[in-house]
Symmetry: C2
Subunit: 315 residues, 2 copies
């Protein structure tokens, strides 16, 4: 059984590949995906979990591949009416997407944990993989910029990631607990995969849950990261600018350094082949391959390569 750590789009794609590979292998051991929830926020009175939803919709085959968020073919009728009431609608939420947020909010208010809510969603949408929120406590990512501290979605969506990033804080993380399902998944894992998600604001918060780094240091399973930086750029989102702003190298090597001590191997893109030696010098193995996930076939191929590289016995 494979455990994946994932944020939004890139993480969702590889998690989907791992799920497809498990289905294809007939082993029935679907992956368990630990998902970042630090960019969750309240909007229109609803609890929005962008990364959980991106992974959920992607694994359910419902994701909008063009935008990277929301559901394919969704409409925006509710949002248009909210605009008519004079409400700010810079965060796009489709009509079908609203159902997810409505039900999540209602169930959280009724006392369900986010873990329980998410498990019910996966079952309802026919997703066999387990989606595990990194914690059940609400965490808020704050981005420090020259204009002051910004709520993450303000920085990410409304201001389109144009601000320089001088620091990142995960408010509430000190009080967070590793959910039992996350702990059990790590203990039972044959392989742990750090998906190609933003190391600062997607994988970073997962690692910041108290006890999570120690847990990952102690697991028996090999731990492999797939670089989200290819050719010195993020495949999607602001990871490259964030790394630069925070003084890290904007490269697979920079990512490897961030994960040093937590991973045994790194998967980097073929365009970065020349970085292999510098990463191996950090005490890791390196796989150089095509890490682009243009379609489902790519997702599954990369998943199989990561599995073969990390834990040859299970692939």
């Amino acid at each position: 059984m494979i455990v994946a750590l994932a944020g939004g789009v890139g993480g969702a794609k590889l998690a989907h590949g791992l799920a497809l590979a498990a289905t294809g292998s007939g082993s029935g051991a679907q992956p368990r995906v630990i998902v970042n929830t630090a960019d969750d926020f309240e909007h229109h009175g609803l609890r929005i979990s962008p990364d959980l939803d991106t992974v959920l919709y992607t694994l359910a085959g419902l994701a909008n591949a063009e935008t990277g968020w929301g559901l394919a073919g969704d409409t925006f009728t509710t949002l248009d009416m909210l605009a008519r009431y004079g409400v700010e609608t810079w965060f796009q939420l489709g009509d079908r997407d609203f159902a997810t947020h409505l039900l999540r909010t209602q169930r959280l208010r009724a006392g369900w944990t986010l873990t329980q809510v998410t498990a019910a969603f996966t079952r309802a949408l026919g997703v066999e993989a387990d989606l595990l929120p990194m914690c059940d406590e609400p965490i808020a990512t704050m981005v420090e910029t020259p204009d002051g501290a910004l709520d993450f979605q303000d920085y990410f969506v409304r201001r389109r990631q144009t601000d320089d990033v001088r620091g990142v804080q995960f408010t509430g993380i000190e009080q967070a607990h590793i959910p039992e399902g996350v702990r059990a998944a790590c203990a039972a894992a044959d392989l742990i995969v750090f998906c190609p998600s933003n190391p600062i604001v997607s994988i970073g918060p997962i690692l910041a849950v108290p006890g999570m780094r120690a847990l990952l240091q102690q697991v028996a399973a090999p731990r492999i990261a797939v670089s989200p930086i290819v050719g010195g750029r993020a495949l999607k989102g602001p990871a490259d600018r964030m790394l630069a702003g925070l003084g890290h190298a904007v490269s697979a090597t920079g990512v490897a350094r961030l994960y040093q001590g937590l991973i045994d191997g790194m998967v980097i893109d073929q365009v970065d082949a020349e970085l292999a030696a510098s990463i191996e010098a950090l005490g890791m193995r390196v796989l150089v391959t095509d890490t682009m996930m243009r379609n489902e076939r790519d997702r599954q191929r990369l998943a199989r390569e990561v599995m073969a590289f990390g834990a040859p016995g299970i692939s």
Copy 2:
């Protein structure tokens, strides 16, 4: 200035007629409509105010005339997705309608009163009449049936009003207060109109707010009711069956008796002309006319007739 007491569809139509008449007269004195909120309820974690919304949408020209609820041309994408999550969707809520409930819920949670929320909605949708919730406290209508007490929407929507009604309770009404705007409206009124709404569960709750009956007994303005019972039947909804179940005459006379002491005159349909004498015997004046509101012209005509009958000086 005219004050109207209204529930859902029938009340909304006459309130719309009064608003059209005010606009047509050029006086600029738009009606103030006191609206039943006792069938408000929570659904999908949202606060739904069916009668307020029917009046709001009707006066905004957005109502769905065919169904009597919701917005014309609304879609049901969110509800379909909720169904996919396994949620019961017997209460139909359209995508545009959801925006109203979302924003209402968010604002109530933020500390707005229902009165303030409703005022903002009317302004946003260009409604010039004032919509005044009968109170700002949440009230729940419970319907006593042979199968036990039912939540109002359970009785009304899910079970399609098929249960015998043995009693009606407005839970929480003892703690309700007359909002200042309702008190001021009644004091300033030139005419008070009881719209042709269900006397038990639409007008009844308004009259049950502590102090409301006394307020209506003391006002200087003439008070006129339009019968919602025509030819022994309710024009819409279960008013006829409710009246029968509770031991009242199912007729304009039965309605007049319920309002005795609170009104000075009754407007009844031409098919009920023979009831005029029995109603006059209760100490009221009676206007016999065509009370059917098939279109906007009918609404405005009936409004003008009610105004001329009740307070000739202002029409």
